[in-house]
Amino acid sequence: FLSKNGIYEFWNWFDDRTWYPLGRVIGGTVYPGLTLTAGSIWWFVNALNIPLSVETVCVFTAPIFSAIASWATYLLTKEAKGTGAGLMAAAILAMVPSYISRSVAGSYDNEAVAIFALVFTFYLYVKTLNTGSLFYATLNALSYFYMVCSWGGYTFIINLIPMHVLLCIVTGRYSSRLYIAYAPLVILGTLLAALVPVVGFNAVLTSEHFASFLVFIILHVVAFVYYIKGLLTPRLFKMAMTLVITVGLAVCFAVVAILVALVASSPTKGWSGRSLSLLDPTYASKYIPIIASVSEHQPPTWPSYFMDINVLAFLVPAGIISCFLPLSDASSFMVLYLVTAVYFSGVMVRLMLVLAPAACILSGIALSSAFDVLTRSMKFQLSKLFDDGPAIVRSSKNEKTEKSEAAPKEKQSKKNRRKDKEVTESVSVKPKKEKRLSVLPLEASIVSTLLLIALGGFYVVHCVWAAAEAYSAPSIVLTSRSREGLHVFDDFREAYAWLSHNTDVDDKVASWWDYGYQTTAMANRTVIVDNNTWNNTHIATVGTAMSSPEKAAWEIFDSLDVKYVLVVFGGLVGYPSDDINKFLWMVRIGGGEFPHIKEPDYLRDGQYRVDAQATPTMLNCLMYKLCYYRFVETDGKGFDRVRGYEIGKKHFKLTHFEEVFTTHHWMVRIYKLKPQKNRIRGKLKKLKSSSKTSSTLAAGRKKNPWQ
């Protein structure tokens, strides 16, 4: 789309195929980084006369960017710990399963580009920190801008960097380089971020960004303090210091007070729901069920850690230690990055992705320093063995002395520091450790080298396995291995193809929002809600409809002009992530907006079940009926393979919906709303037959929020 109409139309692109009847402003609600990137790659490639379709470009955007991200990781680690560690980190990142999950060809996702932007921003920050060059600082702001364009996770940067700055100030590591690295980032970055429509004024208004401004002020105060420290005599300085600090504190308090006032006035306290759920893991499940309903937002389990980062989990502590050995600004930043990333990934499994580069960098550092130590000691011992040791010993001693000279100089001028760094980068770490560890016997070092190599080997094997098994398989086509060989469940595409060819172009399809994007893209039909969950009420309406009895649901869907209802049902083949298992979230989300849907109505003794003990509300709701319609006739018992028991209510008829399509394995079932006149006839009959029914009807209608 972007390539056809250019960028300005993109901002104003209003997508009426989704979120019927509201429609959705694509330009304003999407992070444009990814589309812009793919669009520009496409232009570039076509300018070279290579006719690729836009889709092809999109498919390959993620791999290209993961390659660049690997390069950025190398740069970042090199800044922090030297070339060897950088190479190691890049190699590890190239294979880490957690990142592969986002960077396989075809995963056209924000994160794919965002991780590159994230790592590159950090690299530029560290680079600026090391060089103090304004040029890199500006680049840093641009890279931050790109990150803002790409992903909501940019708040991670804007909070992590101030944290690091604060840490530096507190530990007395303030330098003008820090100022240069930070100030342009905040000012330019915020200005640029405000240019992105989806962020807009949020860049200055929401709480996520306050931390950066606060630190900005503190930084100025500290900078001022250091400045006058250089100007004034110690005695005067003390006076000025107290003055400045009081003034600074006053300003800080004033700002904080304003913030508090602002925060208190807004209902969500200025935090967006997702960030709140990050800080308080229980928040989401309490207040915004929709965020908690996404499996990616759940806290991860230990196996998933092992799955995603594997041996890195064990290498990371070693990496932290080796970061602390000579603690520089850069390596302290690494440590901080890792610690926060670990926390965030612990809250939300999706943020494992942020952890992945950090873990890679630190393990890279750990591995490379371990190898350094071991090979050094091996060389040392060997040289001793072959009696030409002295030369090396001498040289290493030289280095050692250089290093010890270098250490006190750490906090001296920038130029000196750079010189030192060049030395430090190449050899300084190694001899220092060597001195300490060279007592390692030859055999031990050989064995541990081999062990480390084996560890690396296992890691590679695991990564290849994970990439092949877990992340390369498209989620839309499911396969299972049976005796006859590979069995393919292509039900989703079957259903979408059916929708796209056999329904009218203007028909609206209602389904749970997980399938919204897929329906729009593959079936080319208008959906009610989709994966961009910007309107909670709308989703709640669909949730309500799904959890209402048939008639009420029909009315809700009819008021939304829905013609087809799509449900995903795994009971026949045992596909666990189907709508029945997601149903409780629908109830919660629906109940969050429309209080007549109550979660306890669907639970029997706090347990969620659809068998004979299930509650009548559960057995009469639309979702249950649509999923299990005529299911019992397949095997005579209605045995649900996902839940592992027979369903509760077996024989029932649908009065307001009719089955129009069910896929081969029953995974997708599509129902059509029966036309109005049938309903009225039924209603009239009922009205005549008993007045009692009519009163319940009226009650049902009152409950319906759409009338």
Partner: protein
């Protein structure tokens, strides 16, 4: 259904009026028609024995069809041999003619003989006609459980501008239930073959409507549009890509579609649907793929031997009446099988049609992509086509 009947009645009236105007020189001494109704494409083979009873040599034989049939006529081919015994027959050129003094409800085709038929000589003429959209589903909407009934209409007499001495008509049915058929004189239904005749000494333009209502559950696969792209690469490959837009052209499905019924009793429930198509590809076809706009379709099977490659494809879902789907198949062929060179020029000799069996194509677009720098392009096709040329963007990597 009423309209064709009325038309037929009208025809009879008109026929009486114009009988005198018929060309009396020729007499059809024997006409045997074999109508094949086993698929949704109607094939009629008419064997005529034409005798020149007049004095002048005759060089043209007229074939008449009611307009209602002529508009559904997909192909007509005539083979003629002269003499008592059937020998080697040759294809006769056929064109549409509008002789004077004939009813406007008829369309005439004229088969030109290679040499004029002399007085008293006999010509064996085999006319193969293929009709599409000729079988009307009735009822037009059926449920999943019903089987599909179709109606076939024709005349029990061979419609000819010449008097016919002896004639028979035999109709081959697909073998299911026969709801009804017009009984008229000598009519027999044996197994799945319906026989009319023989009738003797029928005057010209005699039209005697018959209706056969029978069960036909064969796939009514209709390609609303087929785009074939034939791309010639001078690296030794002819790449063929075919984009299909298929619809089930039979009786429309009404009411629910129940997967349960379809799966538990596939022959009883959902008998009118079809779920696979067979393509016969050339023998050395390779790199065959089958996909649609949302990706590969995994349900296909391929057999190949030295004579042909057979590809069985299954659309994503079974097609019921009125349902449609789209898909693309593509395959590569070795260049030397299809491109020949002579006199410093190269010739591509390749078929227009689709490799699918028993499929009806309503609109066919064939695109031939030639290598860059091709010139003096010349096309010869056995039937009239619309042609145009366009310059496609240059491919930097390929070709």
């Amino acid at each position: 259904m009423a309209t064709p009947l009325r038309l037929a009645a009208l025809l009879l009236v008109l026929v009486a009026a114009f009988a005198s105007a018929a060309r009396a020189d020729l007499v059809v001494s024997r006409a045997d028609r074999k109508v094949d109704l086993t698929s949704h494409i109607v094939r009629v083979l008419t064997s005529l024995k034409v005798e020149n009873a007049g004095s002048e040599p005759v060089s043209k034989v007229l074939l008449a069809f009611p307009n209602i049939q002529a508009k559904n006529l997909a192909a007509i081919r005539a083979f003629g041999t002269e003499g008592k015994v059937k020998g080697l027959s040759s294809v006769l050129p056929i064109e549409v003619v509008e002789p004077s003094g004939v009813p406007p409800e008829l369309t005439f085709f004229s088969a030109s003989l290679h040499k004029p038929l002399q007085k008293g000589k006999i010509l064996h003429l085999d006319v193969l006609t293929v009709f599409t959209h000729f079988l009307q589903p009735f009822p037009e909407e059926i449920t999943q459980a019903d089987s599909q009934l179709v109606v076939f209409q024709d005349s029990s007499h061979y419609l000819s501008p010449y008097p016919v001495k002896v004639q028979t008509l035999s109709i081959r049915l697909p073998g299911g239930r026969v709801e009804s058929y017009t009984k008229y004189g000598n009519t027999k239904l044996v197994d799945s073959e319906l026989k009319y005749g023989p009738y003797e000494d029928v005057p010209p333009f005699s039209y005697n409507p018959i209706i056969v209502h029978f069960e036909n559950n064969n796939p009514f696969a209709v390609a609303k549009e087929l785009i074939r792209e034939i791309e010639i690469s001078h690296w030794g490959n002819v790449q063929i890509t075919e984009h299909y837009n298929i619809v089930h052209g039979g009786a429309r499905l009404k009411g629910e579609f129940s997967r349960l019924d379809y799966q538990s009793r596939p022959y009883a429930r959902g008998v009118s649907s079809f779920r696979h198509l067979i393509a016969r590809l050339p023998a050395r076809a390779h790199s065959i793929y089958y996909r649609d706009e949302i990706g590969n379709i995994s349900t296909s099977h391929l057999w190949s031997d030295s004579k042909k490659t057979q590809l069985e494809i299954e659309p994503r879902f079974p097609l019921f009446g009125g349902w449609q789907t789209t898909f693309t198949i593509g395959y590569g062929l070795p260049l030397q099988d299809f491109v020949f060179s002579a006199d410093g020029k190269r010739f591509l000799n390749i078929t227009f049609g689709s490799p699918m069996e028993e499929i009806l194509i309503e609109k066919l677009i064939v695109k031939v992509v030639l290598p860059e720098g091709s010139k003096d392009i010349d096309v010869s096709a056995p039937f009239p086509t619309n042609q145009w040329q366009e310059v496609v963007p240059h491919w930097t990597i390929d070709n």
